[in-house]
């Protein structure tokens, strides 16, 4: 999987989500998030130039959106407690982010305005007087400097860690899609087996089509009106 994001356009996944909700004139609710999930996924599938540092963050939100979307399409899907918590977090996070994005907009004119204070150089006019700290030795300096050297991050190592994080997340998304497929299949067959309500069957059928569009599942039908077979998308 290759995800590419134009970061000069969006500050991150929340910024992208926020822009999509605003574009559709939606409030920040689960229902709205389900509506824009497709656009988000489409965007990160097509966008280019994502930096490694941000890829994990975009994927993490993508995973949560897939959950929300699936639930909206098939209400029968049961969320685990952890999944439920993740979705609640996303809603809260987005509301918080929106507030701070506005706050940043309000700070910008203050920062850019010529109005500002200046401080003065401390102890000016005193001139340089030699005030060495008591009890300092060359060994102290060597020790402090060696510690500074030890804290310098090795760049390649950081990138390795990020790649690992991204891989883990991609695995997680694949796993999520797999288990959702299973849950959808069960839900669908149960639904069809136990209901006589035509409307409900039609809704489920539409939901199934939506999942096909999402490329979560693959369906096969031998001929008109014959049995529909659903398969895991390879």
């Amino acid at each position: 999987m290759a995800y590419h994001i134009k970061l000069e356009q969006f500050e991150g996944p929340l910024d992208l989500l926020l822009s999509l909700t605003e574009q559709e004139k939606l409030d920040i609710t689960r229902v709205s998030l389900a509506k824009i999930a497709d656009q988000y996924l489409e965007y990160i599938a097509n966008a280019q130039d994502i930096t490694l540092a941000h890829l994990a963050d975009f994927l993490s939100v993508a995973a949560r959106l897939i959950l929300i979307k699936s639930k909206a399409l098939l209400p029968l899907i049961q969320f685990t407690e952890e999944e439920e918590e993740e979705i609640k977090d996303l809603e809260h996070q987005l509301a918080q982010y929106k507030k701070f994005k506005e706050a940043a907009k309000n700070l910008a004119p203050l920062y850019d305005s010529p109005r500002m204070s200046f401080s003065r150089d401390g102890f000016s006019g005193l001139g340089v007087v030699f005030y060495p700290p008591a009890n300092i030795t060359g060994d102290d300096l060597a020790k402090v400097f060696a510690k500074i050297l030890g804290e310098i991050p090795v760049v390649e190592k950081l990138e390795e860690e990020m790649v690992k994080e991204v891989l883990t997340l991609e695995e997680r998304i694949v796993h999520l899609q797999n288990t959702l497929r299973e849950r959808v299949q069960t839900s669908f067959s149960e639904l069809v087996a136990n209901t006589v309500d035509k409307v409900e069957i039609v809704v489920s059928f539409l939901a199934m089509l939506e999942l096909v569009k999402q490329r979560l599942i693959h369906v096969e039908q031998g001929e008109l009106f014959s049995e529909i077979h659903m398969k895991h998308k390879q």
């Binding site: 500050e11 994005k101 203050l110 500002m116 200046f118 401080s119 401390g122």
Partner: protein
């Protein structure tokens, strides 16, 4: 000590130091209680708010700095070189806003709000001296970030508490709702 005498000494000390000073340090120099120092600082603030004053008091946590009146920036700039000219990127503005309203705050908490890795932006703000970091008392391996006096000076604001909507933005309502539910 008389209140007026105390104001006079505080003004002298802040003037000579030039840099931020802890209220506790002022109290020590004056050999007075911190409450008395705070009263004197309050009186100085009132004095600096009057027309004709060219000074202002900045307050950040437990520290105080004496600076020039922000309204006179254009005239002062004819004398000093201004290092903080560049405007901030959107990312930097977002991070510094979060730090202004929620600081001291850890990197993890900032990233939880922005939903995106902030290492690069934090480093940039630190190098520009707009934010400061200190040891995180709750996590020995990490830091917490707060805005710097230089940032207050650049904004022309004497206290973060006077930023727009501070009362609303400074609290995480989820923490509040947890507390009120209990």
């Amino acid at each position: 000590m008389e209140q007026e005498k105390m104001q006079s000494i505080i003004e002298s000390v802040l003037f000579v130091s030039g840099e931020p000073i802890k209220k506790a340090k002022l109290a020590k120099i004056l050999a007075e209680k911190i409450e008395e120092v705070e009263k004197a600082l309050e009186a100085l603030s009132v004095r600096y708010a009057q027309a004709g004053s060219g000074l202002a008091l900045l307050q950040k946590g437990e520290e105080i700095q004496l600076v020039s009146n922000p309204e006179n920036a254009q005239h002062v700039e004819q004398l000093v070189k201004n290092e903080l000219q560049d405007s901030l990127s959107n990312a930097a503005l977002e991070v510094v806003s979060i730090i202004a309203y929620r600081g001291p705050i850890s990197k993890t908490e900032i990233e939880a709000i922005r939903g995106v890795n902030c290492s690069y932006t934090l480093r940039n703000l630190l190098l520009r001296g707009l934010i400061e970091r200190s040891d995180n008392l709750r996590d020995a391996r990490g830091y917490v970030y707060s805005i710097s006096f230089d940032f207050l000076k650049k904004l022309g604001t004497d206290d973060v508490k006077k930023l727009p909507q501070y009362d609303i933005l400074s609290v995480d309502e989820r923490i509040n709702s947890i507390i009120s539910n209990e």
